[in-house]
Every structure is written in C-alpha cells, then in structure tokens.
C-alpha cells in the first residue's frame, strides 16, 4: 500500500519545502533594514563596539556573497544549530520545542474532542436534514465558525472563573516540581509517573481552552458532513442497503461514513494548521505557555532567529500532519493510489 516511491516523494517534498522556507526567510532578512551582526553581538557599546560588530559579521558570514551565506545558513540549520534567541539568549531549538510541545498538547486534546463530536453531530445533522435537529446544529456550527474564538474564550474564562474553576496556566503551581519532566507535556508526564491528582488537575486546566480550540474544527466537520453525507445517503448503495432491511444507523456509520473518512481526514489536516492561530490567542487568555505567548514576547525584540525557527518547525509539523492525513486517506479509500 505504501510504496517506497511515495515515501521518497514525501520526504523530498518536505525537504524542498523546508529549504524554501529557509531561503525565503534568509533573503527577506538580507534585504531588511537593520544590522543582524549588531544584534548578534549583543548590541555592544563602548570603545570596542566596532570590533565586536566586525567579529560578529565574520562569525555570521555576512561578508560573504549572498549565495554562500544562504548555503551556510542552510548548513547550520540542518546541523541543528539554529542560532541563539536574541530575546532569551538560549538556543532557539530548545526554546521552540518546549513551547511547541505545550501548544501541541492543547491542539491534540482539542482535536480529540473535535473529531468524534464533530462526526457524531455531523451525522445527526445529515440524517435529520430539514428537521429541527439539523437547523439547530447548523445554527450552532455557523455561530461557532463565525464567532471569534478568542472572544468566546474571554467570556468563558470570566464565567468559569466565577464558578471557581481553576483555569490559569497548565498545572497547579504546587505540582510543578512534583513530577519530573519527561515529555514536557504535563498530561503525559503525570500518566507516566502515575499521579492521578496531577493528571486531573492538568486535565481541568486544559479542557476549557481545548473546548474553545475544538469549536472550529468541530463545526467545520459538522458542516462538511452535513453537505456531503446527505449527498451520499442518496447514493444507490446506501439506498439498497436500507432496502435490504439493515438498520439505518448501522448503514450510516458502517457504510456511508466510511466513504467520508478521506474527506474528514483531509479536512482535519488542513484545519490543524489553521487552528494554531486559535491556540495562540486562547493560550494567552488562559495564561498558558506555548508558541502564542512566545511570539508575543519575541516580536518587540525583533527576535528573528526564533521566529524563523518557529516558521520552519511549524512548517515541518504540518507536513507531518498532512502526511498522516494522506495515509489515513489511502487506508480508508482503496481507490486512492499514490
């Protein structure tokens, strides 16, 4: 099913995309005003400042022609040397990974909520197309798509806080040092160390933001299923199955829905990338760490090594996600051959 050809093609295209990001961003920086060597040298002052900047220039290779600089830049990148964050003075790669893990945790939990719920509600909507259920579901999904998630998050955070629910951050401060960090995700770490109360605490804190992030992919699934499943329900094979006396729900979930899996998987591959915007804003409202807060803190300092690293890494991440969704499509749809 997965030919070697396909794998090679994927890897090559991922490689080219990453190269593209690197070259593009480097050229943008090259032509942007401001001296990277000055920032790299730590914005030196005093009598020896000129020399320090010169040293940084040769260290960065800024005295070489552009194509050589790009080559050096790419070479460094693949060696894992992504530079030092100007703002945080730590290697870019470690800052990014630990924040991306935090954001991914939220994103994945959100999709675990969104996909089953979205499919369930979407099927309902398609089955009862035209009835009250469908109308309600359509309205809800349209509202959730059109209401800015950060706005819902603000209102929800105020509401839940009034109820006394713990929302802030990723984990209660007293637990922070109790578990050792293995993966960086408190949910996984607490499962590994087998501490139920920490797991519950982390879960309580992740659920409200995750539900908000889940609203968009969920509503989108409902809408897609509503349109295409009701179309499917009128195809001959479904009609025939029903006429054979098979239960309606079984026909829908077993046969009609199976035909929908490729479309759903493709949809979520796409919305995963889109949802990162929601994740970033929602994180900021709930005081969670993650790429949202990192971006907010990095921009005022023009921390371009960090942001370029982030761009490249999120790019790679979405290639991976899209590959997964491709694989699901192949598995579920025998017609797709790659």
């Amino acid at each position: 099913m997965f030919s070697l050809n396909y794998i090679i093609k994927r890897v090559v295209s991922a490689f080219i995309v990453v190269l593209g990001i690197l070259v593009l961003t480097y050229i943008l920086i090259y032509f942007s005003p401001g001296n990277p060597a000055y920032t790299w040298a730590g914005r030196p002052r005093g009598p020896r400042a000129e020399e320090a900047i010169k040293a940084a220039e040769s260290e960065l290779g800024l005295d070489k022609p552009l194509y050589l600089q790009i080559y050096i830049h790419i070479n460094r990148f693949f060696k894992g040397d992504w530079g030092i964050s100007l703002r945080f003075k730590q290697p870019v790669i470690s800052v990014i990974t630990r924040n991306l893990v935090a954001s991914l945790e939220l994103l994945i939990v959100a999709f675990f909520i969104a996909i089953p719920l979205g499919i369930f509600l979407g099927v309902m909507s398609a089955l009862y197309r035209g009835y009250l259920v469908d109308k309600v579901l359509y309205t809800i999904s349209a509202l959730f798509i059109s209401f800015p998630r950060f706005w819902i998050a603000i209102l929800l955070s105020v509401f839940l806080q009034m109820l006394g629910v713990n929302l802030f951050g990723r984990i209660a401060p007293s637990y922070m040092l109790v578990i050792e960090s293995v993966s960086g995700s408190y949910i996984i770490d607490s499962i590994i160390s087998g501490k139920a109360e920490i797991f519950i605490d982390a879960l309580i804190r992740i659920l409200p933001p995750a539900i908000i992030v889940a609203l968009y992919p969920m509503s989108l699934t409902v809408r897609v299923l509503r349109y295409s499943l009701s179309e499917k329900l009128y195809e001959e094979y479904v009609k025939q199955a029903i006429s054979f006396g098979l239960p309606r729900s079984r026909v829908v979930y077993r046969y009609a829905l199976r035909g929908m899996v490729p479309a759903i998987s493709q949809l979520h591959g796409i919305t995963f990338a889109y949802s990162i915007v929601d994740v970033a804003t929602v994180e900021n409202i709930f005081g969670r760490d993650g790429i949202g807060s990192t971006i907010v803190k990095a921009i005022p300092y023009n921390d371009y090594p960090l942001i370029i690293g982030l761009l490249a890494l999120t790019g790679i991440l979405f290639i991976v996600v899209n590959t997964i969704s491709d694989i699901i499509q192949i598995v579920s749809d025998p017609r797709v051959r790659i």
Partner: protein, 307 residues
C-alpha cells in the same frame, strides 16, 4: 451582453432571496455593515483620539456630552467609553471599514494569485508546473500567525505585514482548488477539442478555463472571507499592539485585545467590538452558504432550503 441577460441575472439574484433565507440574512447583515463602514469612513459621532481631561472644557463648549473614561453604555455613548474616554461606537464604526477593506482585499488578491498559481500548476509547461506545485506546497504549510510575526520583524510594523501574511497563506488554497478544477477540465472534451483545433493555451485559458473556474472559487472565497476576517482579528488581538504602527488604530481585534484587561470590571470595552467581528463573520458565512446551496443544482433539486 444585452439587456435581457442583465434582466435575467437580476431576477436570478432576486430569486436567491426567495430560495435561501441564509442568503437574505447574510446579505442584510453585510449591507448594514457596509453602510456602517461608509458612515465611519466619512464621519463619526465623536473624535477618535483619547482626550485626557483638558479638552473636556472645549467639548462642553461645543455642546457634546462629556467623555469620561469607563462610561457604561448609555444614551450618549451607545457602547460606552473606554479607558481613555473614547467613545466605543465611534471606534467600532471606523474599525468597520478597516476590517471590511482588509478582508475584501485579502480575499480578492488571494483569489487572483491563487487562480494564477493554480493555472500555472495545472495548465502550462513542465518547469513552471513543477515550480508552481512546490510553491503552493511551500506556502500551504506556513501558519499565518507565525508568518505575520516574521514579517513584522523583517519588513516592519503596520497593517501591510498582516495583510501580506494572510494573502500568502490563503492564496495556496485557491491555487490548489484551481489546480484540481483545471485538471478536471482538461479531461473534458471541449478543452481537448480546443487543443486539437490549435488554439493557443492563452486563448483557452482566458476563453474557457477562467470562466469555468472563477465562479466556483469566488463562491468559496465568500464563505472563506468570514474566516479571513476572524484570522485578521485574531492576529491583531494577539500581536496588534506590537505589530501595528499606531496604538490609536481602532482595529476591532486590537480593541478586544486591549480591553480584555478590563473584562471583569468594564466588560463593554472588549465585548462590543467582539460582537461586531462575530456578526460580520456570521453575515459573510451565511452569504457564502446561501450562495453555495442556491447555486448547487443537486441541492436545489432535492431539498427545500431550510434556514
């Protein structure tokens, strides 16, 4: 194009209102928003700048009601005033044209670029096809918010950074859609006949491909514009203060982002702009949905279109 066709199109347009309630609701919302934004473009009930305290006297002389910070919504200030005593309704009015112009510009430019890229990828020579496909694949994986942040640090602050970032991330979707449609079209007989008859590719593209592709993409674009609006708002909500040049710029997302600090005491500051974002996006989505359903023959045949 003679008058009968125009007339026919007009009746078809009016028919849309009869067929689809979604379309009529969405259309109404958008017309209201457009009117508001035009009003906001020319005039606002109050000045936009923060007053401080001194100009209170001048304002009294002009007969305007006072603008104190943190006024509850009342008759003088429909949506209340913010922390600097600025009238929120005036700010929202000005924000309306900012939001609409940005959204329309982003969607139109992305569609135009998308169609160009899509046709280049699906209907040209080998080299350009390869380059375009990779370009699409490259742009499609970039998250808009990170790109906006990168552009802010590289080209500098301002609306243009956010707009460019969104164009760069939305156009590949239209390119991909165009590519798929073009691939399907190429298999159809009339294109093959055109090729066989020796028409140039340019002719075929402009005469047959674009007219067949563009409407589908435009309907898609209208539905998407709701998401585009929200994306602009989200980005400005998060990094607006850092990425836009003026703190006075009454961008909706930015007002929400700035007002969130007062949410527990002076809730109206971020509530109303958020509501306007939501309403506008809802209008756009309903408009798009209504159009899709009304124009899709299959759906029209089988279903009475419910709201």
């Amino acid at each position: 194009m003679n008058s009968r066709i125009v007339e026919g199109r007009l009746t078809a347009f009016l028919n849309l209102f009869k067929i689809s309630r979604k379309f009529s609701i969405g259309f109404t919302i958008m017309v209201i928003m457009a009117i508001l934004s035009i009003i906001g473009f020319f005039n606002t009930p109050y000045h936009l700048e923060g007053w401080g305290i001194v100009t209170e006297e001048t304002m009294k002389r002009q007969g305007l009601p006072p603008c104190l910070p943190f006024n509850c919504p009342n008759i003088n200030h429909v949506f209340g005033t913010d922390d600097m005593g600025r009238d929120l309704f005036s700010r929202i009015l000005v924000g309306a044209h900012l939001a609409l112009i940005q959204t329309v510009a982003i969607v139109f430019i992305s569609i135009a670029l998308g169609i160009i890229m899509g046709i280049a990828a699906g209907y040209s020579n080998m080299v350009i096809e390869k380059i375009s496909t990779y370009l699409i694949e490259l742009l499609i994986v970039i998250p808009s918010m990170v790109l906006a942040a990168a552009l802010v640090t590289i080209i500098g602050r301002g609306i243009q950074s956010v707009v460019i970032a969104l164009i760069a991330t939305w156009s590949p979707w239209y390119a991909r859609l165009t590519y798929i449609l073009v691939r399907q079209l190429r298999e159809l007989d009339f294109i093959k006949i055109c090729e066989a008859m020796g028409f140039t590719k340019t002719y075929t593209i402009f005469r047959h491909i674009i007219p067949n592709v563009a409407p589908i993409i435009f309907v898609e674009g209208i539905t998407d514009s709701g998401s585009v609006l929200i994306e602009i708002a989200s980005i400005n909500f998060l990094i607006g203060v850092a990425s836009l040049t003026s703190i006075d710029l009454p961008d909706w997302g930015m007002i929400v982002g700035y007002g969130i600090r007062y949410i527990r005491t002076f809730w109206w500051i971020s509530f109303f702009p958020g509501l306007f974002i939501a309403l506008t996006a809802l209008g756009l989505i309903l408009l798009g949905d209504g159009l899709t359903e009304a124009l899709s023959p299959w759906l029209r045949r089988r279903w009475r279109l419910w709201f």
